[in-house]
């Protein structure tokens, strides 16, 4: 254990801080999957040029081309978060497709897509889940039928965030109907403007349509758009699912929520008494603070483990399960602090900012379910982490 940063990192931190100090006026607002505007595209370019976005993506594909250094990446994240300046764009194309292409794409695919994706010019959505294939994703039924140089795709995807603003989709389709379920899938890139694609917004409990349903009717896609080998899409996708699970349950987000809650408790009063002086609320705050700290330290441990190639399997397996639940609990606490005012979800003179907490409280429930439900996470933790057996086959398939 040595929590001091060496001199190289201290000066790197100063460099990042001074960059932010000088350029904060250029920063865009959004990290959410909305189409970036001109200002945000320029900010993204500036970040890439300085090595604060697409840091380790090779220069030939439009990245900054630095050696991977987890400590520097963390310093960048911390400095941006401390200055409340949004990091470079974060969307599914950048976080999931680009790593996949780098690992498994052809030269042509890398050249066509990586540069445009990291710059924000091309926006992607993910086509994995289907109405009948959620936790059992490998049972997916969207069919891609071989037709000369193309596939003809028919079927339906669901939970597709950003589909309505996306240029492209990375998608799992069944290309080999006779193969066993994991072996019949291919990972394919689809132009969303292709004839036969219909996007329908999916209204959720939050009152917004954060997701979509996407319908495919005789959609023609060139075979050259397959990433990896035909029939091996399940393994291609799994490479990126680990990236997604690392993103969900980010401890930096929990830490910043906790900070907002403490601010709220210092501002809000009930019967003239500040909430921060209420011992019952404080007890709950301290419980949450211990969990936030634990997950932050857990992420420091993972950082060192990946840097030094140490085994920290369990520490990694639990991040999605714990992090998403913690974020949900933090939002729930903020609502309880506001009491009746905490239920306000719309314009009102009495609004003390509950809308964003209510939205988080509901949307987090979606995150606890999405990206592998909490129950699937527990299966993975018990099987892969604790060495417990899978459900026996007869229970899965029914007696034949």
């Amino acid at each position: 254990m040595d929590l001091n940063e060496g001199p190289e990192y201290v000066s790197f931190r100063e460099k990042v801080a001074s960059f932010l100090n000088k350029n904060s006026n250029m920063a865009g607002k959004a990290r959410t999957p909305v189409r970036p505007n001109q200002q945000e595209l320029e900010w993204q370019k500036k970040l890439i040029d300085n090595g604060y976005a697409a840091r380790t993506i090779p220069r030939e594909y439009g990245g900054f081309g630095a050696e991977s250094d987890v400590l520097k990446s963390r310093i960048i994240a911390e400095e941006f978060s401390q200055s409340s300046i949004p990091m470079g764009m974060a969307n599914q194309g950048i976080s999931m497709l680009v790593p996949t292409l780098l690992e498994l794409g052809t030269d042509e695919q890398k050249k066509s897509w990586i540069s445009k994706t990291i710059s924000g010019e091309v926006i992607w959505c993910q086509g994995y889940s289907e109405p009948g294939s959620g936790s059992d994703l490998a049972s997916l039924q969207t069919k891609a039928v071989d037709d000369g140089d193309d596939f003809i795709i028919n079927g339906q995807k669901i939970w597709t965030s950003g589909a309505q603003i996306s240029d492209m989709m990375f998608c799992l389709v069944r290309t080999e109907p006779d193969a066993t379920k994991h072996k019949g899938i291919s990972y394919i890139l689809i132009d969303m403007k292709t004839l036969g694609i219909e996007v329908r917004p999916l209204m959720t409990m939050t009152g917004h349509a954060e997701f979509n349903e996407v319908f495919f009717t005789d959609v023609r896609v060139p075979k050259s758009q397959i990433v990896g080998k035909r029939g091996e899409g399940w393994y291609v996708a799994n490479a990126t699912l680990t990236h997604e699970r690392g993103m969900l349950g980010d401890p930096n987000q929990s830490a910043s929520r906790l900070k907002e809650i403490i601010d709220l408790m210092q501002e809000e009063t009930v019967n003239g008494e500040k909430l921060i002086n209420n011992p019952v609320y404080l007890d709950r705050l301290m419980r949450l603070q211990a969990r936030v700290l634990s997950m932050s330290f857990n992420s420091l441990r993972l950082l060192t483990a990946s840097h030094k190639k140490l085994d920290a399997k369990m520490a990694k397996l639990i991040v999605k399960l714990n992090g998403c639940q913690l974020n949900h609990d933090l939002a729930g606490f903020a609502i309880d602090l506001l009491g009746e005012l905490g239920t306000i979800y719309g314009r009102s003179n009495h609004d003390h900012g509950s809308g964003k907490w209510q939205w988080k409280f509901m949307f987090d429930l979606g995150l606890i379910i999405g990206g592998g439900t909490a129950q699937i996470q527990k299966n993975i933790i018990s099987e892969s982490g604790l060495g417990m057996p899978r459900e026996p086959k007869p229970m899965l398939e029914g007696k034949k």
Binding site: Q289, L386, M388
Partner: protein
């Protein structure tokens, strides 16, 4: 920056684990709980042979001069094996108290004797955390009278007792007349605690005042948290192991999702505690401004997580968990005692809030 144990720390932890695996088992815990007190002395000898009592004591006093993190790794193993042997009071809190102000005469006199294992030291600071109506000490001149309860490591005729009177830590040599030590029967038979009655006994003041008291309590809490971490981790391991042997409905019970999810939840709750503990222990020696807060969080959070694991893991064993045949209850009870010693979770969280300036 490096957030991991060093190779030396891993080796230390492994060697203690091996010594305990070779020399302790469930029968030892059972015999100890039935009153076989010889076990305490024979275990203590093994610990002394490894040179562990002087772990925190500087080399000039015959110790190895290591830190709270190393001491925590050992406490974790003692918790894992539920060992009835002095550690937290004798080898960690007592040296911490005596070393608060460097070079005082009491350190020079007593630390070499603790390091060599010639004597043991009992530490009784319950009254500094929360004084009960029938306890507390009074100092008249340098004579101490009164009662201290829940002293740690007082079961082997301790030569010295470190306790608290007013705003000072005091040290009492038990060879002075007027000290009566008796064991308090608690749920936990693996770790004796004692009541000490002082009847106008000569005492000496350990320099450092309130800050020395606080630092000694902080370190003690981190060590109790480490003990809970080890005990909880063992309970999960044992529960998983049992679930892979026990069959019902022609299947190992560990293949049922109901059981798998209980185990996954325990593991998911405990794993981040390891990082919290490492950081808290490291902070005691290296990040002074965070030491008290992190100590509170480690103690309170591991008490909560440990209690859940104690309950849920016992349930994984079904009826057997409830019996004495497997002896799982020794760990259940050890966690139960650690949770309350030096402040239960609510008390400790209240301190955590105050340290941050909340609760005006």
């Amino acid at each position: 920056m490096e957030f991991a144990l060093s190779e030396e720390q891993e080796i230390l932890s492994d060697s203690v684990k091996k010594m305990l695996a070779d020399n302790t088992d469930i029968d030892l815990l059972r015999n100890h709980s039935k009153g076989d007190e010889g076990i305490r002395e024979s275990l203590r000898k093994l610990v002394v042979e490894m040179g562990l009592p002087g772990l925190l004591i500087p080399e000039e006093y015959g110790g190895s001069g290591l830190g709270v993190l190393e001491a925590s790794l050992i406490a974790e193993e003692f918790g894992r094996y539920a060992v009835p042997t002095p550690w937290i009071g004798n080898s960690v809190m007592a040296p911490t108290a005596l070393l608060f102000e460097k070079g005082n005469i009491l350190s020079e006199k007593w630390l070499p004797l603790i390091a060599s294992g010639e004597i043991t030291a009992c530490v009784a600071l319950t009254e500094a955390v929360g004084k009960r109506s029938n306890a507390g000490l009074e100092l008249k001149g340098l004579k101490v009278s009164g009662t201290s309860i829940f002293g740690i490591d007082g079961e082997l005729n301790p030569r010295i007792i470190i306790t608290v009177a007013g705003d000072d830590l005091i040290l009492v040599d038990t060879e002075n007349p007027g000290v009566t030590i008796s064991e308090i029967p608690t749920i936990d038979s693996t770790r004796p605690v004692v009541e000490i009655i002082f009847d106008s006994v000569d005492a000496e003041i350990i320099p450092g005042g309130k800050e020395a008291i606080q630092k000694t309590i902080d370190v003690g809490r981190v060590l109790l948290a480490a003990d809970i971490l080890g005990a909880s981790s063992n309970m999960i391991d044992k529960a998983v192991e049992y679930s892979l042997e026990r069959k019902q409905f022609n299947r190992t019970i560990g293949s049922f999702q109901a059981v798998k999810h209980m185990c996954a939840e325990m593991a998911a709750d405990l794993e981040p505690c390891r990082s919290l503990l490492w950081y808290s222990a490291y902070a005691q020696d290296n990040i002074k401004e965070e030491a008290s807060l992190l100590s509170c969080h480690a103690k309170a959070h591991l008490s909560e997580v440990g209690q859940d694991i104690a309950r849920v893991s016992t349930q994984v064993f079904g009826g057997m968990g409830f019996t004495d045949l497997l002896g799982i209850h020794y760990w259940f009870k050890r966690i139960g005692l650690s949770r309350q010693i030096l402040g239960g979770p609510e008390k400790v969280r209240q301190e955590a809030a105050k340290i941050q300036g909340f609760l005006s």
